[in-house]
Symmetry: C2
Subunit: 467 residues, 2 copies
């Protein structure tokens, strides 16, 4: 009696799950904290460990790529069919800092399984989710009788994600030929919940600026001059107050130019998610939902562009009072961008708006940081449909769709490589990313293995059909 | 040939000016810096020195009044006529810190006369202006043949003005019976310029508050939550932006209740002052004049109530960026008040306005500091007319009128003693209060002596007529 491909995958995973967990635990014991300089040797050790493991997995090409910071690991396993699509998996091997005294119930770098969960720093973010691809590709080969994956499979696992990926863009640009891919699969995200597997279809982009406003040449006395000269703190406040209109829409002219609106289908699918606003507010540690009129909370955080003030300051902020008109004030703004918005256009629009808003007698300058572009893969994209099908097979249920409100280095891959970005993540909100007692649900981890095992064959088959 | 009263005063001053300057220089050598604890013995020495000098001047009652901080000096010289009005002169014997290396051309506590100016810390603010009353009262007696002043003359010279007069209100309240007066003469202000003697008719009051706004329980990620929850920094900015309407009038409902408007005559007199706005802007170190529509710059700083933001802060203010929605933000506001405005009413109005402005989901608290009431003496008040006449006789020219935009402890005297406050100051803007190379113009200092010498007789005569 021959097995179905799915049961073959499951059998292979069952046979290898114990060794897989032992290996993962070994990796999790390496405290690869990229933000702490004294852990630099550990981050290097983590890269070397992963490289060795990928060779062992079967990748014929494995390289550790140095950067001016922490090293990344690159691996390549070509398909037999030269016309097969090329897929690049992105993840990271560095982790957030963690110390037992922060509130961990066990040592953060001594992995421990309790109640079907593996507790360790990096268990979900992101070592667990990187690692499920190693068993996934082996199961794919075993179940299909192949000696090479159905796609040209590449991995790029960076070592500085938790430090803001300062050298990632340059690395991708300098290695663009080696990284060339038809699609990018990011395994550094999550899904809705254990009961509701979801595929993320995009991330918001990010433009950030600091606006500095200068009034008097020094702090001046508000008794002598108050009411008769412009106050830069007032100008700063008025800028922030003018950012949004009465519908909580961003009021910078041109801000919405090109925005790809949600389709009715996407809105319907979002609405199918079992969203509990009171519970979401607790997660947000906030006391009210408030945002752009005409959109739900999920639409606001996932699919609508925003403007937020991240910092504002000017004048005297110490205890008590000081009767001054301050010499200067500043505002830090960030704009989350969605597909169709161009960071360069946003910068121009914001600069023009600031110039127009700032009153006579206040000098100003606006400094923009490097922007991150938004990414979005349409629901009908064949690669996205492959991810959704592979996940649906693993979970035995149709998947729904989410987006990510944040912004990430995946956007650099999309932009430099010109490839659509797909997200395959099995983490759930309770996994405690960046928090004490980070964990991964073992049954979800193996659903990740299984999804990975189904994905490459599905992609190879349907990509070809679509093109 | 008998002298006129004025030439008798002048003769007396000429005969005693040298000894007067020697005495003043001796006082100025005492570094009575109230803000620096290690100078506490000097502040005490300054009080003792002044007390001895006032006894020597002829005051039968002289007392050094301790406070929990620095001591004040009280003196009392009753008139022969028990029905004469009682006048209390206010000034201070403490000084601002000063060090040669701050940019002084001579030692700040080694008084030096150069080009008709006496340079020393405290020369103008306020020892010189306190001290001119000692020679003034002697000249008054000499020229009129009296053995006691024409008014019941009291002096209260505090020792903590440069530290914010923290114990002054309590001192005045606890000694209210000793300080009882029909009028208060403050000699701690200035006049328009050497060529334009002026009398100040009032000071603005001051109400100050800090508004604290709380959003999420901790800083939250602007990617995950941006655009969907209220941001306390936005709320803070919107409060500040809503403080003024498009005419730069304060938009807090009820703020202008009771405001005593400038009379046409006062506006005419202000307009007679040789005001150069470009020069004023240089003094304000500012790049534009901006304020309440329908009022000149001088009206704005002297006679109109204002709202200013003295400080604003929230979220990340360091270098670079941080993609957060901050947990909290705060705003420090100060309101300058004019005659007719009641600080308690202002506090109520601001609290109601804040409650109404702050959006759902943002918690807030507002903390008010102790307020200072405004004071204003009408142009036709008999005591004010006496000051103007005395000054006009000393300067040989009619005087004009100003006000002070700032707020001072004189308001406590007005409030506790229920007496109108008059201002007799001969300092000019170039005197460098609180700055290096503070000085007093010697010819103006003796005009101060002369004004003081004329004032008590004029007051006694015309006060009686008016009542
Ligand atoms: Zn991550
Ligand atoms: Zn003073």
């Amino acid at each position: 009696m021959s097995q179905t491909p799915d049961s073959a995958v499951r059998t292979y995973i069952e046979q290898h799950c114990s060794a897989f967990l032992d290996d993962l635990a070994e990796w999790l014991r390496i405290p690869s904290v990229s933000a702490q300089p004294d852990h630099a040797p550990d981050v290097q050790r983590s890269a070397d460990w992963l490289a060795a493991k990928l060779l062992e997995t079967g990748f014929p090409t494995v390289e550790v790529w140095p950067t001016p910071g922490a090293p990344a690991v690159f691996a390549h396993w070509p398909a037999e069919d030269p016309h097969a699509p090329t897929v690049l998996v992105y993840g990271h091997h560095d982790v957030q800092p963690a110390a037992r005294e922060d509130g961990w119930d066990s040592e953060p770098f001594a992995p421990e399984v309790r109640d079907g969960r593996l507790y360790a720093r990096g268990a979900a973010d992101d070592k667990g989710q990187v690692f499920f691809h190693t068993l996934g590709v082996r199961a794919h080969l075993a179940a299909t009788g192949r000696t090479a994956p159905a796609v040209h499979l590449k991995l790029l696992i960076e070592g500085e994600e938790e430090s803001g990926s300062p050298h990632f863009r340059a690395l991708v640009e300098s290695r663009a030929d080696r990284l060339a891919a038809d699609a990018v699969v990011v395994s550094d995200t999550g899904m809705w919940s254990e009961d509701t597997p979801t595929v993320c279809t995009g991330m918001r982009g990010l433009a950030e600026c600091e606006i500095r406003l200068y009034g008097p040449d020094q702090d001046i006395h508000s008794g002598s001059f108050g009411g008769a000269v412009p106050n830069p703190a007032t100008a700063a406040a008025r800028l922030v107050a003018a950012l949004h209109d009465e519908h909580a829409r961003v009021a910078v002219p041109g801000f919405y130019d090109g925005v790809v609106e949600l389709t009715d289908r996407e809105r319907e699918l979002f609405a199918e998610l079992p969203f509990d606003e009171a519970r979401w507010l607790r997660t947000a540690k906030s006391y009210a939902a408030h945002g752009e009129a005409g959109h739900t909370t999920l639409e606001r955080v996932w699919a609508r562009p925003t403007a937020e003030v991240n910092g504002i300051g000017g004048g005297y902020q110490g205890p008590g009072s000081k009767t001054i008109i301050p010499a200067s004030a500043m505002v830090k703004l960030s704009f989350r961008l969605v597909a169709g918005q161009d960071p360069d256009h946003i910068e121009k629009a914001v600069r023009a708006w600031v110039d127009e808003q700032v009153p006579d007698g206040i000098r100003h300058e606006t400094v923009f940081a490097a922007a991150t572009r938004p990414c979005l893969t349409p629901l009908d994209h064949p690669a996205l449909r492959s991810v959704a099908r592979a996940m649906g097979r693993a979970f035995g249920t149709p998947v729904l769709f989410t987006r990510e409100g944040g912004s990430g280095p995946a956007a650099d891959l999309q932009e430099v490589l010109g490839a659509p970005v797909l997200f395959l993540g099995i983490s759930v909100p309770s996994d405690g990313w960046h928090a004490p007692n980070e964990k991964v649900e073992l049954d979800l981890l193996f659903k990740g293995v299984e999804t990975s095992a189904y994905l490459w064959g599905d992609l190879a088959e349907h990509w070809r059909e679509a093109s």
